[in-house]
């Protein structure tokens, strides 16, 4: 019979010790890896929250744009109360803050967390600029839920930067159902005028004389103008020309600014001082004929001298079948004796022209809007506007467009003669032409047409203030700040 050895028991002990050590090492490793993995998830959610907040700002700007192009549906689904159970359909941010919570975006990977934006828009009185335009404040809170439980990870400095609401919403103090990362962005949105470029052709721009000059000044800045007027010594290089089409014939004209097409070509661009780009597009909305009730005593047409009276506040309204001035005819738009702002609106249902010594004369302080349904031919002394180019706004009423976007029956607006011109023309269904003479004619303003052409010797001086005034065609972010509390 064999006796058992007294040395056999130590093997299992050693094995258990080694297994214990290995399990401890494995546990520590898993713990570290899990912590880092959780931190990666939390960081990803923190980044996702910013994307959601910025998406919320885009949603708000989209509603503002609807106010321009689709006003019946603007702010639909928004509410005048945060977290409203039943959104209203007709809210107005100028009457008080309005709120909207975006749809939830579910990311299929990365833990499948959800993200969304809670948006608040208001238009306080202190955000009304010097021209009376209302700016908007958008506060967008991006929320991204965090996968991996309510466990703190990262160093103190990381947590100081990336703040998470694991149990309680730090902004409201309310309990959260799921851990979340939130980021709040405040953006200030400013309306943008239609006249952001000096020449804008929906289809083409054609400059056929190398003596043509297009440059800019800023009537609001003494370093860029003298007493608010153009000064060649203070010339600026924002006299930009652009087309939604594919062709600009720059004609070696002196363009102190950039030239941009929509994926096309700028020919003879040797004297363009700025960029030549091919990524331009600007939405051009149709101008509808205003529903005007003429003031009492308004004649049905004008074919000789006369006076129209502009008034403070609401504009005086005039409607004529046609306006033709020739010889010594002068149509005066009379304003206030002290030159304070007055307003008038004229609708011409037919053609409009000046020739010879015939002219339209604006008094100081007068703001005149002309809506032309027919054609317009301004020659001779033309329209004398002693005010800013913004004070004279000419609109070519929409003539309908074909499926390809071209006008069905384009109108014509022509400016020629020696009277110069200071004003803006917005006529995306018209062919706009400016015809210079042998001497340099100075035009001040901005011009939008289906086609825009210049010939002869002319200079167009663009007042950069035009981009901030006149008809609003868009909105843009002018201040962006993340509230990192």
């Amino acid at each position: 019979m064999r006796r058992a050895s007294s040395q056999s028991g130590s093997v299992i002990v050693l094995a258990l010790v080694f297994v214990g050590i290995l399990m401890a090492a494995g546990g520590i490793s898993i713990s570290i890896v899990q912590s880092r993995y959780r931190q990666v998830h939390q960081n990803a959610s923190w980044q996702e929250a910013l994307r959601s907040a910025e998406a919320g700002i885009d949603i708000a700007i989209n509603e503002m744009r609807k106010g321009l192009y689709d006003p019946d549906n603007a702010w639909s689904g928004w509410s005048d109360a945060p977290d409203a159970a039943s959104p209203e359909t007709a809210v107005d941010p100028t009457a008080g803050a309005v709120h909207y919570t975006s749809k939830v975006f579910l990311r299929e990977s990365e833990g499948g967390q959800r993200s969304y934006a809670k948006i608040t828009v208001d238009a306080p009185e202190f955000l009304r600029d010097a021209t009376g335009e209302q700016w908007y404040r958008v506060r967008s809170l991006g929320v991204a839920e965090i996968a991996g439980g309510a466990i703190v990870t990262g160093d103190k400095l990381d947590l100081r930067l990336r703040k998470f609401d694991l149990h309680t919403d730090r902004r409201t103090g309310t309990r959260v159902f799921r851990p979340q990362a939130t980021r709040l962005v405040e953006a200030i949105i400013k309306p943008v005028g239609t006249f952001r470029t000096t020449l804008l052709g929906a289809n083409t721009i054609d400059l056929n004389n190398h003596n043509i000059v297009v440059d800019s000044f800023d009537s609001r800045d003494t370093a860029k103008s003298t007493n608010g007027a153009y000064d060649p010594a203070k010339r600026q290089e924002n006299g930009n020309i652009a087309t939604n089409g594919t062709l600009i014939q720059a004609g070696s004209a002196h363009i102190y600014g950039s030239a941009a097409t929509n994926g096309g070509t700028v020919l003879n661009s040797d004297n363009v001082t700025g960029e030549v780009r091919n990524d331009f597009y600007q939405e051009l909305f149709a101008v509808n004929r205003p529903d005007v009730t003429p003031d009492a005593g308004t004649p049905t047409y004008i074919s000789g001298s006369g006076t129209l009276v502009a008034q403070p506040g609401e504009p005086s309204q005039y409607q004529f079948g046609s306006v033709h001035l020739s010889g010594q005819d002068t149509l005066r738009i009379a304003g206030a004796a002290d030159g304070s702002p007055t307003y008038a609106q004229v609708v011409v249902t037919g053609d409009m022209s000046t020739s010879g010594q015939g002219e339209i004369l604006l008094d100081p302080g007068v703001h005149l809007r002309i809506f032309v349904v027919g054609n317009m031919d301004i020659t001779g002394n033309g329209i004398a506007n002693p005010n800013s180019a913004l004070n004279l706004q000419v609109y070519g009423v929409d003539r309908g467009v074909n499926p390809d976007g071209s006008p069905q029956n384009p109108g014509a607006i022509k400016i020629a003669g020696n009277g110069g011109f200071s004003g803006t023309i917005y006529a995306p269904t018209y062919n706009v032409s400016m015809v210079g003479g042998g001497n340099s004619d100075n035009l001040f303003g901005a011009f939008v047409g289906w086609t825009v052409g210049m010939s002869g010797i002319q200079a167009v001086h663009y007042d950069e203030a035009l981009g901030d005034g006149g008809l609003i065609s868009d909105y843009k972010v002018v201040s962006w700040f993340e509230d990192a509390r």
């Binding site: 880092r36 923190w46 955000l127 160093d155 901030d468 972010v477 509390r485």
Partner: protein, 189 residues
């Protein structure tokens, strides 16, 4: 029945002892070497992970400030930023104002800078200085200012490298992280 009588020999021969000691020495040497290697590997991996964490922290801090920057400069290998004075003395958000056609907050912008000093990278906001990353003597910050956007790069040298590698910069490239930030709030001069 045949009986078997056990011998009473309980010791080992000298040869057995020497062989056992030799084997034990080799095993112990292997274990120690392995443990040291694992420990060094663990330390290097930890350094790498911590460096990456500091890298991400720097990126995210700078990204946050750059997105709200009014002005951006990159002099002396550092980053100089101004941001709106958004918070009042109580730390509450101010209302914006329109000043000369611009949306502004408070009286004057707040200056923020990032700089590396020795083994530490600091963020300074006004007069408050914060050490954002420490033990980062091998960190390098690079900035490529393109006007309306800026590329920020952060690289470091990992501790673990192949012994035959003579070009450390190639290893540094392997750690490079770059972000391009659109300067959303930058004001034109």
């Amino acid at each position: 029945m045949k009986t078997f009588t056990e011998t009473q020999r309980t010791g080992w021969t000298l040869t057995e002892l020497l062989v056992a000691m030799a084997v034990a020495s080799v095993m112990t040497a292997g274990l120690v070497t392995g443990a040291v290697t694992i420990q060094r590997s663990f330390a290097a991996s930890r350094h790498h992970v911590e460096s990456q964490a500091q890298q991400m922290r720097l990126m995210d801090f700078m990204g946050l400030d750059l997105r709200r920057a009014l002005t951006v400069g990159t002099a002396d290998g550092g980053l100089q930023i101004t941001i709106p004075d958004y918070y009042d003395a109580e730390g509450e958000a101010r209302d914006p104002q329109i000043t000369r056609g611009l949306a502004t907050y408070g009286a004057a912008p707040i200056a923020i800078s990032y700089r590396k000093d020795g083994t530490t990278i600091y963020r300074t906001e006004g007069t408050a200085v914060t050490a954002l990353a420490s033990d980062v003597s091998e960190f390098q910050l690079t900035f490529l200012n393109s006007g309306q956007s800026i590329q920020v790069g952060v690289t470091f040298l990992p501790k673990f490298q192949f012994s035959g590698n003579r070009n450390k910069e190639n290893v540094r490239l392997g750690t490079a992280t770059y972000t391009n930030t659109l300067l959303r709030n930058k004001r034109l001069p």
